[in-house]
Amino acid sequence: MEPFKNFIDVLTQPTLMLTLAMFTFPFFFPMNDWFDKWNRRLRLNLLWTKAGLIAVIIGLTLFFVVGVQDAEFRLIMLKPDNVPIVGLIFLVYFFMWVSMKQASDNDKLLSTGEKPNEYHDPDEKVLVWPDLVYVEFISLILCMCLLLVWSIGLDAPLEEPANPAATPNPSKAPWYFLGLQEMLVYFDPWLAGVVFPTIIIFGLMAIPYLDKNPEGSGYYQFKNRRLAISIYMFGWIILWVLLIIIGTFLRGPNWNFFGPFEYWDIHKLEPLTNINLSEIIYIKLFNTGLPSNILVREIFGFIVVFGYFLVFPPLLAKTVLKRIYLQLGNFGYGVFVFLLLCMLSLPIKMYLRWIFNLKYLIAIPEYFFNI
């Protein structure tokens, strides 16, 4: 058992887990033919078959059943407010399966020029009463049942009375915001807490206006929408759900990382000495002190950031995203690529942090302006 636990503890470290997740992701949701080829070659598409579903669900269940035997694991998983996230893991996979299963079925049909499963003779309709109403009604009852079982079985948490003088360690945001809190590790509050959330909201609202692809409206399908879907999946599964899971289960006192089987030791220490780009350049490379003039000091940072947002778009427009560029035109494409780059900036920043201990690209604490 121990080796297994240790293995999991290592595997779940943010660096490793996120890397794995991000780099295997395109193989599960192939965004181009090359990945698609490998996806088939690795038989990853089996994931969306009944067998795949059963295997994964059983696997997950086993993992939790076994894990719960461990005291530390139990402590963190069965914490009242964390239970929904355990549920979330199952639900997300299950519905991912539901959709991808139908999508892949439809893909087959479409490839043979047939209509998708959802298609029925437009004249042949179904009465809402009783079928739809009835089904809805029943599912509501069942939903209520679930809620009752949940409420009886699990008491709502109540901790010490609010005390401004004593900060609990760790003190976490509500679980559905833990993605943001996790982002706070890598970005300044004004970005992680304000700008990015805003961008996320507007980005989501912009989707219909950016996705000009007429395909797959009203039925599940993947092949013809693979870019859209994989971007959405990446953002939702990796950069939101996964970060929530990390923030909930794997972040302990002092926001240190703790494996699911690890004891939350308050005195655990982690090397957190991070430096800014300016320091790297001026002190490490040039071996000179930091220039007093802020702009001079941060010039490289600005170059990098602006470069990132100015150089990549045209580059991509010429290459990978050519089709989209033509579809959306300048403005649409601009917005799209900006959102895309913002989304990618999180993993990029993560890696900069992990590899170079980079704190900020631009660090102007004088004006709370850090990127």
Binding site: Q102, V126, V128, L154, L158, P168, S171, Y232, Y367
Partner: protein, 261 residues
Amino acid sequence: MSDKKNIFERFGESQVWKSIFRSGVPRTRRQRMMSVLNSVFLHLHPVRLPRHAVKLKFTWCMGGLTFFLFLVLTISGILLMFYYRPTAEYAYTDMIDLGEQVPLGIMREIHRWGAHAMVITTWLHMFRVFMTGSYKPPREFNWSIGVLLLVLTLLLSFTGYLLPWDQLAMWAITVGGNMARATPFVGHEGPGAALLSIGDINFINMGADAKFALLGGRFVGEAALLRFYVLHCIGLPFVVMILMAVHFWRVRKDGGISGPT
């Protein structure tokens, strides 16, 4: 077929029933249509649907569940308001008493877990809509409304999180509130805040910035408690209901549930 009628049929033809449900027991096609048309609740739906639309595997009924959970939360919330006072003195002890002695104190569990569930169902609903590409024309706008509803759901949950007035609540909100502190220009620790000062006088300071507006004080205190309580019980639900109305209305107006053509 004898005209021996079972109890349902008898009742279904009684004046009372007919007065309430104009079209007796819905057994004929016509009756069935009418029962949908005549019911203020049901006529949310069209009378007839394409076959795929009634299949659970297509809709997952997630939108319906989200709406239902909203109702559950409203009811349990109202009941909780009878035993909860949003003041520094009582908030916490009332919470204890909900667990210890209040009749049907389990309402608190239903409310809390219901809220968690609603967040999840909202996400899944969004996921479903995306996967079926149902945001595509002519439904773009409704998707945006949906996104707003999602945000409001999170805000509702967030404001409710403070009300138990325990450490969990206070510090979760503090962490959240500190983000507002860093809002560009209007947060006193946000970039650009310094620009909004004339001479040595900062107009954006601890006592006057986004965070302050959120908490009604420099720190999470009684003012914040009251503020969140009002938002949680009246402000946000009000907005949510309006948007929901629009959302549902648009579903119908945009040609009902999406489907292949």
